[in-house]
Amino acid sequence: MRKMWRVILSIVLILILIGIIAVAVGFLTGADSARIYQTAENNNLINLILRYYDWIVQVVRTYWTAIFGS
């Protein structure tokens, strides 16, 4: 179990490192956060994520009510 923790943490750190490098490269090569947000909203991405968040909240509430009552 301890060995698996090491493996998982190594993979996680590598992925985070690569992700941070990718974000840094994007901003260094001319990325703009306002433009990204605008494009995402135009593609209904923000709305999609918000709907997904709502769905998760509903699921948690349902189970919480079932286990601990209202």
């Binding site: 998982i8 993979i11 992700g19 974000v23 703009d32 433009r35 990204i36 494009t39 995402a40």
Partner: protein, 386 residues
């Protein structure tokens, strides 16, 4: 605390001699068994034999020199090198030597020894395969003359006829120094054995006797016969030997291998450990442990499910970001930012997923295991049973 007896000694020796051919092994065990039957005091004999291991080494020393010459393809174990000119294997000589020393240690009279000597080889000779029947004829003659050992000797002297068995034995006892008996006298090792050369007459037998004596000396003997070798503890065959004190020089500080602790078995170790439940404690423990365990599992399930949900959310967000990056974005820099963020989300998703698995498979299972271990510790007692 049990001390070794004949049965144990022979059983142990039989196990140690498994490297021999079955026929040879049975023969060796038979000789030792006969030794026990003839012994006045079984424990004294065991003490003089030291240990089964010691005797196995003695036999192995005599046997191993021949074993090295055996090939896998040889069908017959009885290679010519195995035996002396009389067809008697070397290890038989070695056991004979052991027997004589044991008899000497027990204070057997010389006459008794001399009378016993012809019988054994003859009896052993009878066990030999039919192919050796021709050479065993003199031995049979010796066995016939065993009860009246003096008569064949006189006949041999008088007639000059070959009487192999008893005639040489008489030599050390008679002080006449008769021609027919003197040469054979030193051949104590060969007494009673069917010497083929003796068929030509006592004088000729006497002339052959000295080479026989040399050969008998070459027969591997117990370690105390050759102190230098015993000191080296190793022979050229790579067998380790025990260093034994010389007879009469044994000190009380150096006990032999067969002291009273030898071959003792710790009787407590043979007892079986059995666990008996304490019924009342077990009932009380179950009454309290089951609800507590269920509560602990429920508490541990909440963070497990929480982390599971977080991991699922993170991974879904990452997938959505990746798909959107390639679907709606045209600028490479923006795509790189979205891919970087999605990778971070995947990383957190993996971490949360593993945490959820750890909670379910590690923590919850650990709690159940701990409850079971505590139950064993508190509610069971260990009892020794024979």
């Amino acid at each position: 605390m049990t001390s070794i007896n004949k049965q144990k000694f022979l059983a142990e020796l039989g196990k140690l001699l498994t490297f021999m051919y079955e026929e040879d092994r049975l023969r060796a065990i038979g000789m030792y068994s006969r030794m026990f039957e003839e012994a006045r005091d079984e424990q004294a004999l065991i003490q003089s034999l030291i240990s089964p291991t010691r005797q196995a080494v003695v036999v192995a020393r005599a046997y191993n020199s021949n074993l090295g010459r055996l090939s896998l393809t040889s069908e017959s174990k009885a290679a010519p090198e195995d035996r002396d000119e009389n067809g008697i294997p070397d290890y038989v000589h070695a056991i004979e030597g052991v027997r004589e020393k044991a008899w000497a240690a027990q204070g057997f009279p010389e006459e008794a020894l001399a009378e016993e000597k012809p019988a054994e080889p003859a009896a052993e000779k009878a066990e030999e395969p039919a192919a050796e029947a021709e050479t065993s004829e003199p031995a049979e003659a010796g066995s016939e003359s065993e009860p009246e050992a003096d008569e064949p000797a006189e006949e041999a002297i008088g007639s000059g006829e070959p009487e192999p068995a008893a005639a040489p034995e008489e030599a050390p006892e008679t002080s006449d120094g008769e021609a027919g008996e003197e040469p054979a006298g030193p051949d104590a090792e060969k007494v009673g054995e069917p010497v083929a050369e003796e068929a030509a007459g006592p004088a000729e037998a006497g002339s052959e006797a000295e080479p026989e004596q040399e050969k008998a000396d070459e027969v591997p003997a117990p370690a105390e016969d050759n102190p230098e070798d015993a000191a080296e503890k190793k022979t050229h065959e790579g067998i380790e030997y025990f260093t034994l004190p010389e007879e009469g020089k044994e000190t009380p500080e150096s006990p032999t291998l067969l002291d009273e602790n030898s071959f003792n078995v710790d009787s407590d170790a043979l007892k079986k450990i059995r666990r008996k439940p304490r019924v009342f404690a077990l009932i009380v423990y179950i009454l309290f442990a089951i609800p507590l365990t269920i509560c602990a599992i429920a508490v541990l399930l909440i963070p497990a499910l929480l982390f599971l949900g977080l991991s699922i959310a993170s991974i879904i967000c990452g997938v959505v970001l990746v798909s959107t990056a390639f679907k709606g974005f045209a600028v490479f820099a923006d795509i790189m930012v979205l891919l970087g963020v999605s990778l971070v989300l995947f990383a957190f998703g993996l971490l949360f997923l593993w945490t959820a698995i750890w909670f379910i498979g590690g923590a919850i299972v650990g709690v159940v295991h701990g409850v079971a271990v505590l139950c064993e510790k508190w509610c069971y007692k260990e009892v020794l049973e024979a």
